[in-house]
Amino acid sequence: MTVSWSGSRLAKSLLIALICLVFIAPILIGLIGTWLPALGYLPGLNSNYDSSRYLSLDAMAQVFAHPSTVASLKLSVGSALSATFIAFVLSQWLCLNLYRSALWGVLKHSIAPLLAIPHLAFSVGLVFLISPSGWLMRLVSPVLTGMSIPPDWLIVNDTYAASLTLGLVLKETPFFLLMSLSALSRFEHQKTLQIAASLGYSHPVAWQKLIFPQMYPQLRLPMLAVLSYSLSVIDISLVLGPNAPATFAVLVNQWFGHSDLNFRYLGAAGASLLLLLVLMFILLLYIIEVFLKKATKSWLVAGAKDLAKEVVSQWMAKVTLFFMLLVSVGCMAGLLVWSFSQRWRFPDALPELYSLKYWQKSGLQLLEPLQNTAIIGISSALIAVLICIALLQWQSKVQLGSAKPGFKKSLLWLIYVPMLVPQVSFLFGVQVLMVRLNLDGQLLSVIWIHLLFVMPYAYLTLAQVYLRFDERYLQQASILCQSKWRAFIYVKLPMLFKPIAFSFAVAFAVSVAQYLPTLYIGAGRVNTITLESVVLAGGSDARVSAVFALWQFILPLIVYVAALVIPQICFRNRREL
């Protein structure tokens, strides 16, 4: 279906307006609500504050004067940059080396389960694996280490944030792999590689010169999203990151929660500083890109046809993939064993006594958080998927496929905004607004704030398949049943049921994992499994932590399995669906 030029222009404007309203407006309000206190203006608290400081940078000066700030910033920047860089390079190296190996299928199939493990549950599992009293140490003790008590080593919560970096790398590499596979599917990569090979280029060189440059534009935004997430993540930092000083996002969160209300100004200034850091890194990446583009221009066409040795790097890539899978399985297995253990002394490799006690004990305690998590997750995922379907239907109708690349790019940036802006940089402002409107601590408000973070993921998982749908099916169906709505409901939706269900599952998983939005907008009155898990992760009883972390994993797992199984049952006799 085509629309007139002016109609198309109107539709585009309306589309941008809708996206702005849904994705951008809450963030903008939140940012303003954070910037104003950062500049010394916070109605309600200002009675305690020197009025000469209104609209000044005093709060920012206080942030830099704080003894922990510089060290915290170093830790945050160091861990975020290294985690993003390592995960990105690792994902590309795995793609390059495993593409032609038999493990390419294993890699493709292992991404979904690796992504399904929530960051927090994974982090708790990693603690059980690598800590001095963890499974790895138990497996080699006392035979290899001679230790009968856990060593006094600071592995987890180390002062260099190495374990935090490791956790982030292990969790973000599968995300980059998923994005890379999606980027690969957008062009004829297989034939491109064949053309390059026929021109005499070895596989690694062809990948570096032709495949990566074509993939990169699709990976830029995910990379920035990972960087922003790593810079501002709080729940994982609390579990794996250093304590004194903590990472900067944790420090900002501590200021926001300080009993002295004047620390809110510090918190707001710190949150704004975090946003500035993200913006600075976006600019830095742009400069690096421009530089690399210029620097590699002649190398790309220099005709270098070095036939690199692939055997060693292919073998190393296989080992790395095996290691990644092993660590993930080890983390989850560790959680499972701990959750059923009654007595597990160091250095025993397995518990001495098993029990269901901790699962049973957690039942009553978990009922409310589980209920809340499920309600918030299902509601936000459902609303997000419905809005995404509406948006995508509109997009396919106005034929944005033929729109200018610049427009499509800006659309994608708008959708990515909630993933690029650090949560702590605007949630305080939203919280202030919610308090003013008497909406804080309510289930509906939490569903709304989750919606904001869930929507980009729902959109990104669904968009590609949805926009590729052959509209002629719909035209044919509309003619046959003489109703566009019936054609849409009885033909298009069933044909797209599988990706819609998957998009719902991803959205649900994203909602379950939300920590900071639930904490700020729930105001302590809306308790979810993730909030409980963070509190218990720092507790002394590993068994209780394991049960809660596993519940955080089980809920999205159930939805993922349902999203895979239900379409298969519905269309069990339909090979093409």
Partner: protein, 226 residues
Amino acid sequence: MKKNTDKSFRLDNLQLSVDGQTLFLPVSFQILAGELLVVMGPSGCGKSSLLSAIAGALPSAIKMTGELILANKSLNLLPIERRGIGLQYQQDLLFPHLNVAGNLLFALPRGDKGKRATAVEAALESANMQGFGERDVATLSGGQRARISLLRTLLARPKLLLLDEPFSRLDDELRQDFRLFVFAQIKRMKIPAILVSHDRQDCPNKEYYALSLGKMVALGDNNNPF
């Protein structure tokens, strides 16, 4: 077709099978330098698989027996990048991150900068596209893209050219132009070429073969080469 010469391509008893099922009966033929063999046949008869087998890009599920000889050398054990074969698909597959000159330079072996630039200029001139070097490939018309794509393939100086329905995406007028351009380039380069096609118009002479009902048969009024 005539007897073997240095630049010819020969295929001896080539047979492809998937899970023990043969795609077509053993095929043998020889193509001399500057000659074009057109292969036709219904969808799924194995035309593209035949080209993939020659290029060395067969999916692992398809098993090949038989011998591939190019310029008196066996290709069987060589990987695709060492076979010296030019590939041309339906899609032009121009690299979007490189400009026109970049796409052409990509195909040239490493060497003197000036000589490489001259080779690119000469190639563009042969396609009446002088001054197009700095253009973004996205700004080219369908016909121009097709020509640049072929020039890129030929600049690598392949010893055999494989064309997998390269005209099928072009409209009638462009198709005829590009067809003549391809035939002229094959003659000029004096290399053997194989063209997979659905269109009898794609035959420059009356020599063409069809993969049909599992075996290759010669059509037209040429002498049977088998």
